[in-house]
């Protein structure tokens, strides 16, 4: 970063912040300044709320923001997936209209991809959109939608052509959630949390200009969203430290974060809460038990090795070395760690594993771990799908023969309606 540009950018950012940063502004107003100035998303194109800087120079700007304690644009939850997708595939008008309010935090978004009948097989979805004059009429059901209940827009993937192969008949829309044809219902999980929604669309309407990309080109658009989602998931582990500053901006930011993070609050339990294992074993008095210790060791060791593997991948990237297989294993490793952690927790508490709630071990956290861990090998791509991906993309093993990709979707075997749930 010792290119001359770095110094110049640093100084410009510093000067701009010195002039404009004000922790007593309303959050949205401050962010409008960021959006209009381009300092909020410095790596975005100058034409679209950015400054066209490289990633490296973007880091320089970030550092200045941190130094000044200045709050950035809204970037949590699904909104950055929407922003990235629109930036790459949206029309001029869509970008102009939708991006600013994403960045200010005024609009919340959700993702309407998965369906009861198509989980692992996302491209097999059957929500249909049909063009009626200037309006797309949408019918179908989506599921595993985080935050749909307070979202203004949904990124909707729907089938618009049934006579072409499955990946080619999908289109990508921006659906307004608050309309009569859209019903959002919370989906309660076995751990008691309801962090997802089901979304039912009955003759829901999407204006023609809210199609993103081309009709039939939705899969390509969705791939952008999914790529950013993977990145987001990798980043989630270090997420969610509340900002501590004083002033109106900070206050409103904390409220925003609390609202956005609410659905994710059981994610640490889903990942196994390895950090709690030793305290829990000490509290139960079972730490000296040699059999319990073996289980604890397995969990702690796998966790450590998984952390080191992630760090190894980052280090190789930072040094510009060719990416090794270690970078593709995070999700499967997390699943293995979580299962080992659940076993260790159970062993560490003994019969108290029967209990839940406040009087249970670690104020009920162990129970929550036990009830949440089974989700980690499913959510965001099952372990089976992960293993397929690793085997094919990393190890180069051949794909399974498939007969659902080259024929008109109409002719592909699908779920009978009673198994779509």
């Amino acid at each position: 970063m010792n290119e001359p540009a770095a110094e110049q950018v640093r100084e410009e950012a510093r000067a701009w912040l010195a002039e404009h940063w004000d922790s007593d502004l309303p959050l949205a107003e401050w962010r409008r300044r960021l959006v209009s100035s381009g300092w909020g998303c410095p790596t975005w194109p100058a034409a679209w709320f950015g400054k066209g800087l490289s990633e490296a120079l973007g880091e320089v700007v970030q550092a200045e923001f941190r130094r000044a304690g200045a709050v950035g644009v809204a970037s949590s939850g699904v909104r950055m997936l929407a922003a990235a997708t629109l930036l790459e595939h949206g029309s001029e008008e869509q970008k102009a209209r939708l991006l600013p309010r994403i960045l200010t935090g005024e609009d919340t978004w959700c993702q309407l991809f998965s369906e009861p009948g198509s989980g692992s097989d996302l491209a097999g979805l059957t929500t249909r959109a049909e063009l009626n004059r200037d309006t797309w009429i949408v019918n179908g059901q989506k599921v595993w939608t985080t935050s749909a209940h307070h979202a203004r827009y949904g990124m909707l993937l729907a089938r618009t052509d049934w006579d072409v192969p499955k990946h080619r008949g999908l289109s990508f829309f921006v659906l307004e959630i608050e309309q009569p044809g859209v019903e959002v219902r919370p989906l309660r999980q076995m751990n008691g949390h309801a962090s997802f929604n089901e979304v039912f669309m009955t003759d829901a309407r999407v204006p023609r200009d809210m199609l993103v990309g081309k009709p039939g080109g939705g899969w390509q658009v969705a791939l952008t969203t999914l790529a950013h989602e993977r990145r987001l998931a990798d980043g989630m582990r270090t997420w969610g430290q509340a900002e501590r500053g004083e002033g109106r901006v900070y206050r409103e930011l904390r409220e925003e974060q609390a609202r956005v993070m609410e659905p994710y609050k059981w994610y640490p339990q889903r990942a196994g809460r390895v950090d709690l294992i030793l305290p829990v074993a000490r509290a139960s008095g079972r730490l000296p038990d040699p059999v319990v210790r073996q289980e604890i060791a397995r969990a702690l060791m796998l966790e450590r090795a998984a952390q080191w593997t992630a760090r190894r991948a980052r280090a190789a990237r930072a040094l510009g070395q060719p990416p090794g297989p270690e970078g593709s294993l995070g999700k499967l490793a997390a699943s293995v760690v979580a299962r080992a952690a659940a076993r260790a927790h159970a062993a560490a508490v003994g019969p108290d594993a029967l209990l839940a709630g406040e009087n249970a071990p670690a104020e009920g956290m162990v129970a929550e771990v036990l009830l949440s861990v089974p989700a980690i090998s499913i959510a965001g791509g099952t372990d089976e799908i992960q293993r397929n991906i690793i085997a094919e993309r990393v190890l180069g093993l051949p794909k399974e023969p498939r007969d659902d990709v080259d024929v008109p979707f109409r002719d592909v075997r699908r779920n009978p309606s009673n198994v779509s749930r």
Partner: protein, 385 residues
Amino acid sequence: MSQLSFSDEQRQFRDFVARFFREQSPVARARELMLSEAGYDPELWRRLGGELGLTGVHVPEAYGGQGFGAVELGIVLEEMGRVAYCGPYFGSAVLATYALLEGATAAQQERWLPELAAGGVIGSLAVAETGGGWEAETVRASARQSAGRWRLEGTKSYVLDGRIADFFIVAARESGSTGAEGLSLFVVQAGAAGLEVEPLQTIDATRRLSRLRLSGVDAELLGEPGAAAPALRRVLDRAAVALASEMVGGAQALLDSAVSYAKLRVQFGRLIGSFQAIKHRCADMLLAVELAKSAAYGAAEVAAREASADELGEAAALAKALAAEAFLQAAVDTIQIHGGIGFTWENDTHLYFKRARGSEFLLGTPAEFRDRFVEYVSAREAAHE
């Protein structure tokens, strides 16, 4: 040597019991009851006792039972496990009833068993204390005699059906005694002065647990004072065998559900059951369930024929450990095969998953039962040398 077979009568009995629970108490019912205040269906309970005689299936006819044995009891529990039956059967008809059968005097049996066998009262057994342990050595609750009455002090945990039980059979020891010595069983009436019943929040809402606090509670001694350890061991081993049957029933229900979903669900243009990952998982589930079933059936036969305490203990350890493992694994696998939907509240899998978690450590952990199994086998081999 176990026969590992069922007679035609036993098979008919199973068909009858299975149909009854499928029709009268399907898993949807457990879902309602687990959220209800009482936590069970008193009307169904009366039918189990009166019309069907199931609450006394293994109680001698002399005490108003059906006079059958551990095999028939295992059949009842397996079919209950299959529908995740929600009620005090395991606590009252198994634990409390066995405690009276093994630990009470004939006079006490005559007094208590008929009503218990008929389901007219609900009993519960309180052995383990906070932190667990169902072995005699871990009992700390104490009993002292004063003015001809016994008084109990201490705390009991993981007590089944504490809110609805009419009486508790409590393990306590003479102050100063340790190990298997000085241990007795006592009957404590629900509502007795000094008895506090504190409901515990549990993972498995279909099996209610409570903590008892005993502060100088008035109690009636069962059997001879200080001699209850061997009886308690038999009670818990018999109960472990029965619990294994229940778990095996649950595991079978999970397997059935996973397999039928795999035959209906389509992804990538194929039934998911045609993918090797699903197929092999189901095959492994079947193997684990069938091995556990054999262990539970074999152990029930051992329990049915008044085997030695060691033989019973060995069979109980085998059955409990394998059934617990198979049940939990089947639950995890069934969730995985269902994908996201398997993790939702509205899908039934979680009831069984929670039951599996809630049964795994009840009466002792699988690791404890494994350790004990090695002890039994090793001692037996050494004796034969």
